[in-house]
Amino acid sequence: MALLAFDPARLDSLRLALAAALDDLRRVRSDDATTVATMQAVRSATRSLGDFWLPRVSDVLNSKAMTGDDGPFWQITRDPGGMGSTASSSPMYGPNLPGSRSFGEVLEGIASGELQPMAAPLDANGRAGAHYTSISFAPGAQRELGYTDLTSDAAKFADFMSDGLPVGWRENEQLRIIYLKDARAISSVHVLSAYDRDAGPETLTEQTTEATVSGYLVIRQESGTAQVNIQIGPGEQDPTASFSIISESTSGYSGVFYPDNPPDFEPASREPRFENPAEWTFTTSASPMVDGWGTWQV
């Protein structure tokens, strides 16, 4: 089955442009003898655009995409076959099509080296007063390609056994891949010094740079919960029915961004503007420098 990959927003622009072109062509009129060939060409173009391509583009836009209707991303549908097209079984969309990779294809691309990570943030290497950088991502539109559970069997066993025990430990680890489209990547420069872990380190704002990037964000998220439980009710009870009296949670993440194209960082604008908040911030330090920050690694 031949497939067709398309960007719905751009394809809709094409539909409107075809309608406008058709409108322009219909306004071209002449009955002069010297323009016979021209008018034949105009009529031919009008038929091609109006009778074939405009309906065909509309059909694709109205088709039930295999990838669902989840935003301004590439969608895949069955190719209806076009004028002069060959419904061959050759690949219809290349591996470099932005955002078209599946979860597995991204992992394969990383393993084969086809997907290259964005340059890692600079590390201060523990030297007081040295500069280091953090990279934040403020997504515009994003699509989650999928996730896989990386929780170890031992952790799952501990989770299972925690049910009904006075002290329990639950741990969860996931690998997620998210495609970010036109996200704002902010590279901030900091000085390694003592700082409030909640407020974060001082930022040298005049050295902040930013770029608009699209690509795959691969994130490993970990969470753990320690619980102290008491059994519900006196005497013989369901051993799994317990009530948590103390619960302490920890969470963290690490990740790497694989851009579609090398980002072009430029000095950040100081002009007041509407901006999406940064959702992920990474440094290369061994442990997150600030609550909510992650480590640049997978």
């Binding site: 094409l14 072109a21 322009d24 173009a45 074939f52």
Partner: protein, 91 residues
């Protein structure tokens, strides 16, 4: 029909042909192909559409050139007729 009328008709036809050429050159049919590339869609139909729109553009541009030549030819005929009329009047 007088020569002056013929000259005027030829010039009117040249103007009309130029207006047709101008309508084609400003038509969005010449630029619509730029929205049909692989950044919009990819697949056999997409490629066929892009090829067809490029063919339409080429066809219209050829006609546009041809219309320009026609308009110049009509103007030249008008000039020649006018000159012959002046020569006749002078003699």
């Amino acid at each position: 029909m007088s020569t002056a009328t013929q000259v005027e008709q030829l010039r009117a036809r040249a103007r009309h042909v130029r207006s047709v050429s101008s309508a084609i050159s400003s038509s969005r049919a010449l630029t619509v192909y730029s929205l049909a590339g692989p950044e919009t869609w990819v697949g056999p139909t997409a490629q066929a559409c892009f090829d067809a729109l490029i063919a339409v553009r080429r066809q219209l541009q050829t006609q546009q050139q041809s219309l320009g030549d026609t308009a110049r030819r009509l103007d030249r005929q008008a000039d020649e007729l006018e000159q012959s009329r002046f020569r006749t009047m002078a003699s």
